[in-house]
Symmetry: C2
Subunit: 458 residues, 2 copies
């Protein structure tokens, strides 16, 4: 295994060239304008799989964007690792805030700047190159399957059906996912918990047409003012969510576990400086780390209504809209939460308006026991390559598919991510450190080796 | 004067042709993209003035869009009427709600559909054609000046300086403005009060970059949620505005005057049906008519922030924005109100965000005594052409320049409008009835005649 380091240094430039080719494809799943680029991207992933020596390589259609599947079965008796990732990316707006264009990958300060560089093309690419190394050096110690989907950023709507219809094809002993972050380049960590998600879009309609605010202002309900009132009522003064029964099923994290989590390095001043904020804000009674991991939250992700062009227009608009998402914790069911939100929100509306709540997508929270073989194999791999034992953390983000895999395939997932929270994923100037990219490629083969050895000793 | 009716019926088709030419020019003052159309529009108004026989016709530059000035002085000893109007229009968005394009004027059900058909090109055109009749038939009984500006829809920012620098040029005995509405085609009315305006744009900034709502959600202030909280706090549960000292100077309308105003025909069921709303909403203790006329109000005219494209994006945005306007009543000073808003709104912000309030424009409220010669001359003119005495009303809209004329030129304005509240001004499918257009052309010469006669008898 000592050869992995020399393999990386010999091939580094080619790796970057190949990754840049993937990053140049604007595979934005949320926007129908990029449909052809999505097909192009699936094809590019398929070609990568073929090129590195996978045996079966397929583009599998779904009702939405296709999934790319590949496998290499060296011996049915050996354990099987299923690698999951996604080839779609978030929209790149607002474009004017990017220093270099989102789909023209650029190197600056040893970082790759491009939409998808970290989330998730760069991290998927680590797996492909780690496999390339193991296959070409005949050191692949087990069977491997690769499943790269194209709808993660829009809620993986069509993956559940694909998974249900292909349980045999996807059978494995462990799922390996790199779509999360470590604490710092000198503080490796492994996400052993993820929040769930309920995402809705709301529409408030007042008068049936846009009105002159001078003629009607003050006399009829203004849907923007009303929407603001309604959104404001979703939190109380302690920033607790006011939806009845919202907290009923929330996993109660014990004092001792909260103490353990609080030991992960965290500097509130650095955090505030990084974001240029004077103060943090959140649910009373919880630390910043806890608010962003073990507690459920509600955020407006977008809002619009009325005149938003240059200058002034004295309109009282007919409609106002918002996209609202809730992050959920273990035991909260996203379907139930969506329904609770829906009925509460609709009831907040006064008589002068009507309200529609459209569910977008959801997903369940997930917890990985830190005494499982998967966790231990990942821990040991990181300890070798980083020279330091990783810290277990709870991530605030959601990878809904992880809970689905557990339910449908009965397989646990390991979140072996190599990004950083400062990588600006979902934001302008997303980037991924070359250190992180190469450290990922280096670490993955150790995971394979450790996992096979620990499985044998079970 | 009996000839005005035959003049109108002989020239009706030409009138429509000429007006349609004016309506085809997209003279949107709020959007810099239409700058050339604004110049084209000023030229078209100038040509109309020349064509109808005005003596001096000029395009006068300002720091913004120019004003068109024209005059015909038949005898310096006679009274002078100054006609004011505007050639700019509101933006036409949302375009997809127009049945026929906003700048392709179309006749349907005896109405002219186009942006500006009522507000204010159609109503300016009535004056030009009434003057054409009086000049060509040698029946103009006094001097006339015409002042048509191009920035009314964006706050008339540059007109005050023009007025101050040209007090002699603009000297007159009365100002005649058609930019308001009558109650119904069989219920003529004259606006004897207008609300003032304070228009601001607010910007709430949280973290210095867009964040992933999963990683940061719940731990840092989300500027959209905060903006909603802040907007929500601008009204109390009785829909009174909460800004301290906001109501201090509000004109107290006497019970007897409120009683008189309440006698103007108003059907709440028709009102609700017209707007397709289940109920009205406004300040406790006041009727719908009062809320929209004698009481000050606050409306959000536009709001935006975060991801507003198709699909879902789990972003916690760096910024959120809103355009907010307040309608003011007599004695409220728009500059003072803007400052009160600014300091209150800035204080509503929690520590996790910073707030900027940018004043857009403002204007003062206005009241016209119903025993003035101007009012009486207009009342008598309408009584002749509608066969019914008009009702005095208080309009909810703002024409800030009216208060400015009074202050700088010491001249009262008569708001002799012929639109209808249902004309959808500022909305998609703005229209103006041919009845209203022609009734305006018919009524105006009677106003001139009455005003001159009543001035002589003073």
């Amino acid at each position: 295994m000592q050869n992995i380091q020399s393999y990386i240094s010999e091939n580094k430039n080619r790796f970057l060239d190949e990754l840049f080719q993937l990053l140049r494809i604007p595979s934005i799943s949320a926007d129908p304008a990029y449909k052809e680029n999505m097909a192009q991207m699936a094809e590019a992933i398929k070609n990568q799989c073929t090129q590195i020596g996978m045996d079966t390589v397929e583009i599998c259609p779904t009702a939405g964007f296709p999934v790319v599947f590949a496998q290499k079965i060296i011996d049915p008796k050996l354990p099987t690792i299923l690698v999951y990732g996604h080839y779609d990316v978030q929209p790149a707006t607002p474009l004017d805030l990017w220093i270099t264009p989102p789909f023209e990958p650029t190197l600056r300060d040893e970082k790759i700047y491009a939409r998808g560089s970290c989330d998730d093309k760069g991290q998927v690419f680590m797996h492909l190159k780690a496999l390339e190394y193991m296959i070409s050096s005949h050191s692949l110690p087990c069977n491997v399957k690769v499943l790269i989907e194209g709808e993660e950023e829009v809620g993986s709507d069509n993956l559940p059906i694909f998974v249900k219809n292909n349980t045999k094809k996807l059978s494995a002993d462990i799922i390996l996912i790199s779509d999360t972050a470590i604490i710092a380049n000198d503080i490796p960590s492994i996400d052993c918990g993820l929040r769930g998600l309920s995402y809705v879009e709301v529409e408030v309609t007042g008068p049936s047409r846009d009105l002159h605010s001078g003629v009607y202002g003050g006399a009829v309900a203004n849907p923007i003012n009303i929407l603001c009132d309604m959104i404001s009522k979703l939190h109380d003064k302690n920033r607790k969510i006011t939806i009845p029964h919202f907290y009923d099923e929330v996993e109660l994290v014990s004092i001792s576990e909260r103490k353990l989590l609080s030991e992960a390095p965290f500097d509130i001043e650095n955090y505030k400086n990084d974001l240029s904020i004077q103060d943090v804000m959140g649910e009373t009674g919880y630390s910043t780390t806890e608010r962003a991991s073990i507690r459920p939250t509600l955020d407006v992700n977008g809002i619009w209504g009325g005149y938003i062009g240059q200058g002034a227009k004295t309109v009282l608009p007919s409609q106002a809209f918002a996209k609202i998402s809730m992050r959920l914790v273990p035991n909260q069911d996203s379907g139930t939460i969506t329904k609770l939100f829906q009925s509460y929100f609709e009831n907040l509306a006064p008589a002068g308006v009507s309200v529609k709540v459209k569910p977008h997508h959801g997903g369940e929270a997930y917890v990985l026991p830190i005494d499982s073989i998967g966790y231990l194999a990942a821990e040991k791999a990181m300890e070798i390559t980083f020279g330091k034992k990783p810290v277990p953390t709870r991530g605030g983000g959601s990878i809904p598919i992880v809970a689905l895999f557990e339910k449908e395939l009965k397989i646990k997932s390991i979140l072996l991510g190599f990004g950083l929270d400062t990588d600006a994923i979902h934001s302008p100037n997303e980037h991924y450190g070359i250190f992180n990219l190469l450290k990922g490629i280096e670490t993955i083969p150790y995971f394979y080796k450790n996992f096979v050895e620990m499985s044998n000793n079970k």
